[in-house]
């Protein structure tokens, strides 16, 4: 086991209920759940890789490929929908040429639709990396995207 995984498993006893927190820690560290990570977790928890993938793929939080450098999240909550979230999604698709859930070939951008960022009063909301932009418009979004390298 590599040092990195030792660190992840440090505070766990190897119980079934440790699986989700371990997956969360793994993703936090590497940005995604790689096949290698699944193998390590499988050995630690003594469960099959299939079982682990079965649980991980059930939850929206986990992903299985390398993330892009800039993560664009379009909020698809109700308030955002009512105020034009769908149109913003289209705008991102047009600007960077990929569909939600994809990463650009140069890994510059990753594009995701998320359920609700909890900033409904300031809808529509877009999050790029850790910055949250409220009351977004198509035009403002285009200008904002230009600031990310």
């Amino acid at each position: 086991m590599t040092e990195e995984f030792k660190e992840i498993f440090e505070n766990f006893q190897g119980k079934e209920s440790d699986l989700i927190p371990i997956l969360q820690k793994t993703q936090e560290k590497f940005g995604y759940i790689s096949q290698e990570a699944t193998q390590e977790i499988s050995r630690f928890l003594k469960t099959s890789e299939n079982e682990i993938y079965g649980v991980a793929s059930f939850y929206a939080q986990f992903r299985f490929s390398k993330p892009g450098r800039n993560v664009i999240k379009i909020c698809m909550g109700t308030a955002c929908h009512v105020k034009g979230g769908e149109i913003l999604c289209d705008a991102v698709e047009r600007e960077i040429g990929i569909k939600p859930g994809q990463v650009t070939p140069d890994s510059k951008y990753e594009f995701r639709r998320v359920a609700c960022l909890g900033c409904c009063a300031l809808a529509p909301v877009v999050q790029i990396n850790d910055d949250v932009y409220s009351q977004m418009t198509v035009v403002k979004l285009r200008e904002t995207l230009a600031h990310y390298e």
Binding site: D18, Y59, Q61, F62, A91, A115, C120, Y133
Partner: protein, 629 residues
């Protein structure tokens, strides 16, 4: 004097000192919503300005006080004076306000929105009290009493405002009498269904076994709702104290907080809160010398809406896929790891300290015969004053939407309550008192408390499609009516919004909705058809218009509308030309432009940018195919 009394004394002294500071104190609303509005940039500007002018001041970050539309909110308290609140403070405004205050020595009151002085005196001339503002006056703040006031990262602030008095009272009463008190208060689960809190507790308390669990459900997966997030971010100890009370009442040995991973600030505040509790002996072994041991773990939810359902949530905490199971046995008898388990909503728990501290009679004075107390709502959508509110149950929708929310800019059309499981209510229900029974009788539900306001620019068919699309994606897939039924419903709804459906399909949709409602295993499937059923019932005309006339009255459904330029209003400024990504708009400067519908992708950029003439979107309007203008 016992240990807690001395802690309390110290906390009160600290709070008093903050109220009567000899240096200016600046409070900044820095919950997630404030941050989304730019609070952290404002904070930066505040520090810079203080530095630049060498002013000594204390800066305190507080939670969200409610009116999110006014954010970022900055309050300034000069020595010996109450706080004065300024709204929409961007970095530039922050600098200007601070300079006016500190260079001239007085607050620029003409720019302020309210003050927090004693209610009757008016030390600030015409400036109203903050809680006299139209959005706040009709509210009764019990759960939210500390939000926006205290520093949520300082347990002393909470204790100074009578925090942890509830658990002291609980120790005094003992578990049977706590349950009795909660029964008298009439508290019902604030997570949605409104099941009496005491009943669930009683079953669990009487259940066999030494090991019992308490889970705080802070997963809040409803799109359009953020009450739990705001409460935890603004007053985490209220929820933590509520957990102590509930756990003590049912005899739980261990507690979990199941919270959305998407709420990092709330999680951080809970972790910080737990560490502070440990320091003061409020958690762990022998809490406050009562001889009772109890500890709390935080479990981050991994993004599955169905985990709001109790049995699914338990599966998730156990490390499995979050799939519901059939009941009985109910979790109160056999829940987490097969042990008796109570799952209470965040707001239910946040209410408990108030009930224990002030008594059941005090609490039950608010609300209606059947639904006691207050409820927080997130007021969002096409309403003027958006934010987080708390009102007594039984308050009418009209009062919430128009008196508190300030109404809509365009004519009001509908209100959606209860999130994806809720329904859409038309204008005729505006005088409906908001309580569990009235909402249910109208075909909707209370849910966790999301209120989405719609005006005539919102298409209810599109909204129904949106909710069904959401529930279909979030269906765990275990039972067929939910898995297949919701998918079919989405397909039909999509056809309707594209103008490809006939009247027969509306009947099919109705039948399908009823089948899914009756045949699904858990709450997700049983309530998923509500948005469809209520819109079919109260807005049938709009469906018929999509189906028969291929016309979307709200001009939302994109397949059914077209953008065009109104020649008389277009001045030829070329702003729309510059933003059009497909070159659909052409024309020389100063002459009305041309829009080629075959090139237009309806991205709306032109509609947004066309506003030089003061009236937004006047030069380019949306026109429906079915209607000549």
């Amino acid at each position: 004097m016992n240990n807690f009394e001395s802690i309390q004394k110290k906390a009160k002294a600290k709070w008093e000192a903050l109220q009567h500071n000899d240096i200016p104190t600046i409070f900044l609303g820095a919950a997630s919503c404030g941050r989304a509005a730019g609070a952290m940039q404002t904070l930066e500007a505040i520090y810079q300005t203080l530095d630049e002018h060498k002013v000594e001041a204390k800066v305190v970050q507080v939670g969200c006080i409610g009116p999110c539309y006014l954010e970022p909110l900055v309050d300034i308290a000069l020595p010996g004076k109450p706080r004065v609140s300024f709204s929409n403070v961007d970095p530039k405004k922050a600098k200007a306000i601070l300079e006016a205050t500190f260079l001239k020595g007085e607050l620029p009151l003409q720019r302020a929105v309210g003050h927090f002085g004693e209610k009757d005196d008016s030390p600030f001339g015409e400036l109203p009290h903050f809680f006299k503002l139209p959005m706040l006056e009709p509210q009764v703040r019990i759960v939210l009493r500390n939000c926006g006031f205290i520093n949520p990262e300082d347990i002393d602030h909470y204790i100074a405002r009578d925090g942890y008095q509830g658990i002291l009272k609980a120790f005094e009463l003992g578990s049977e009498k706590i349950i009795e008190e909660v029964k008298k208060s009439g508290l019902r689960g604030r997570g949605g269904a409104g099941f009496p809190t005491f009943k669930k507790w009683q079953i669990c308390r009487n259940a066999e076994g030494d090991e019992k669990y308490l889970i705080c459900n802070a997963d809040e997966g409803d799109p359009g709702a953020f009450m739990n997030r705001s409460l935890i971010e603004g007053d985490p100890h209220a929820v933590l104290e509520g957990m102590l009370i509930a756990a003590y009442a049912i005899g739980a040995t261990h507690g979990y907080i199941y919270i959305r991973a998407e709420y990092p600030l709330a999680i951080a505040r809970l972790r910080n809160g737990l560490a502070q509790m440990r320091e003061y002996g409020l958690i762990g072994k022998n809490i406050l010398n009562s001889g009772w041991d109890f500890d709390i773990n935080i479990k981050e939810g991994a993004g599955a809406f169905v985990c709001g359902e109790e049995t699914a949530l338990i599966a998730s905490v156990e490390g499995k896929r979050g799939m519901p199971r059939s009941r009985p046995p109910f979790p109160a008898i056999s829940g987490l790891f097969g042990k008796p388990t109570i799952i209470n909503n965040t707001e239910t728990l946040g209410t408990l300290p108030n009930i224990l501290r002030n008594g059941a009679d005090w609490y039950s004075q608010y609300g209606t015969q059947e639904s006691h107390g207050t409820k927080t709502f997130s007021l969002v959508g096409k309403v003027r004053r958006t934010g987080l509110i708390e009102v007594p149950l039984g308050t009418t929708l009209r009062r919430i939407i128009f008196d508190i929310g300030g109404g809509t800019l365009k004519p009001f059309k509908a209100v959606q309550t209860g999130g994806p499981s809720g329904g859409c209510l038309s204008e005729e229900f505006l005088d409906l008192p908001v309580d569990y029974e009235s909402l249910t009788s109208a075909g909707s539900i209370m849910g966790s408390g999301g209120l989405i306001i719609m005006d005539e620019d919102t298409c209810v068919v599109d909204l129904a499609r949106y909710f069904l699309d959401f529930t279909q994606k979030e269906s765990c897939g275990k039972c067929t009516p939910c898995r297949v039924g919701t998918r079919h419903m989405v397909e039909i709804l999509e056809k309707i919004t594209r103008g490809e459906a006939d009247l027969e399909m509306l009947t099919k949709l109705q039948n399908l909705a009823e089948t899914v409602k009756r045949g699904s295993l858990c709450g997700l499937g049983q309530t998923a058809p509500n948005p469809v059923l209520t819109t079919l019932k109260y807005f049938r005309d709009e469906y018929v218009s999509h189906v028969k006339d291929k016309y979307c009255p709200a001009t939302v459904c994109r397949e059914l509308l077209e953008y065009r330029v109104i020649p008389g209003k277009c001045t030829g400024c070329q702003r729309c030309v510059s933003v059009c990504p497909t070159g659909a708009i052409t024309g020389p400067r100063s002459e009305p432009h041309n829009l080629d519908p075959s090139k237009c992708i309806k991205c709306r950029a032109c509609y947004e940018i066309c506003r030089f003439d003061a009236i937004a979107g006047d030069a380019i309007v949306i026109r429906s195919k079915g209607r000549a203008s």
